[in-house]
């Protein structure tokens, strides 16, 4: 496969090659579902086992995230959130607002861009994660609900 043109597909290509178990959340997931929210940062909800986190870190390292090599998989697996690097910043989450990988993966939608499959959190899970009380998140929840109504209707 040729090198993808987008940062998102490039990173997910490497994660998939490592058989990493993850679900895309955050702004990048909103982009896939229908909202062109500017942002390069990538948020991944991952299966919180050291073996899987090792696969995630290996994939990120191969995607050019040099910080991924400096962090122990066990430590990442034991934290709720680990933030790596910048441009793109990659946030690895083991739980997001009470949403765990084991539940999110069951409802996840698989988008395909540039030939790369990207497991993406359901709209319902994205809404739950966006319950932060912040104004920007509240507006995005309303937009997600509008997309949800279209999808259902």
């Amino acid at each position: 496969m040729s090198e993808p043109g987008t940062v998102l597909a490039s990173v997910c290509l490497r994660l998939n090659a490592e058989a990493a178990r993850y679900v895309l959340i955050g702004t990048r997931a909103l982009q896939l579902w229908g909202i062109v929210a500017p942002g390069l940062d990538i948020q991944l909800l991952v299966e919180p086992t050291p073996a899987n986190v090792e696969r995630v870190l290996r994939g990120l390292r191969r995607a050019g995230c040099r910080f991924a090599r400096e962090w122990l998989a066990t430590e990442v697996a034991n934290r709720q959130v680990t933030v790596l690097g910048q441009t793109p910043q990659v946030d690895i989450l083991t739980v997001a607002a009470g949403v765990h990988f084991r539940h999110a993966v069951l409802a996840a939608h698989r988008f395909v861009i540039e030939g790369v499959t990207i497991p993406t959190a359901s709209i319902e899970d994205l809404i739950t994660i966006r319950q932060t009380g912040r104004r920007a998140d509240a507006e995005q929840i309303l937009l997600l609900e509008a997309i949800q109504r279209r999808t259902l209707g």
């Binding site: 909202i35 959130v81 009470g98 319950q131 104004r135 507006e139 309303l142």
Partner: protein, 110 residues
């Protein structure tokens, strides 16, 4: 809740309702106040996106997922948003709420 625009209130509840709220809070790993805020949000059926937001959404939905990602990455590259600090970082958070607070501070906005 990581929001400077919050109000602190005192309310009276039947103990069984409070027990349910606490059970939900534990199951969802969120504060008790979040459970009540979320319940009110779901009860409010009058909230709608802004007209601008809806118009943008209509335009965004005309694009495919791949085109949306390309457009968003291009927009991010052109954005004048202040960079996060520090530029090189590995940060760990024990709780999601702490991460949200850091995210808010590091972006210097909202």
């Amino acid at each position: 809740m990581p929001n400077s625009a919050i109000s602190r209130i005192s309310i009276t509840l039947p103990p069984e309702v409070l027990a349910i709220a606490d059970q939900l809070a534990r199951a969802l790993d969120r504060p008790r106040s979040w459970v009540f805020a979320e319940a009110v949000r779901r009860f409010d059926t009058t909230a709608v996106p802004s007209a601008d937001g809806l118009a943008r959404l209509e335009a965004d939905l005309l694009l495919g997922a791949e085109d949306r990602v390309r457009a968003a990455e291009a927009a991010a590259g052109l954005a004048s948003e202040p960079p996060r600090l520090p530029t090189d970082q590995i940060l760990a958070f024990n709780r999601f709420e702490e991460y949200l607070q850091w995210d808010e501070r590091s972006r210097g906005r909202r």
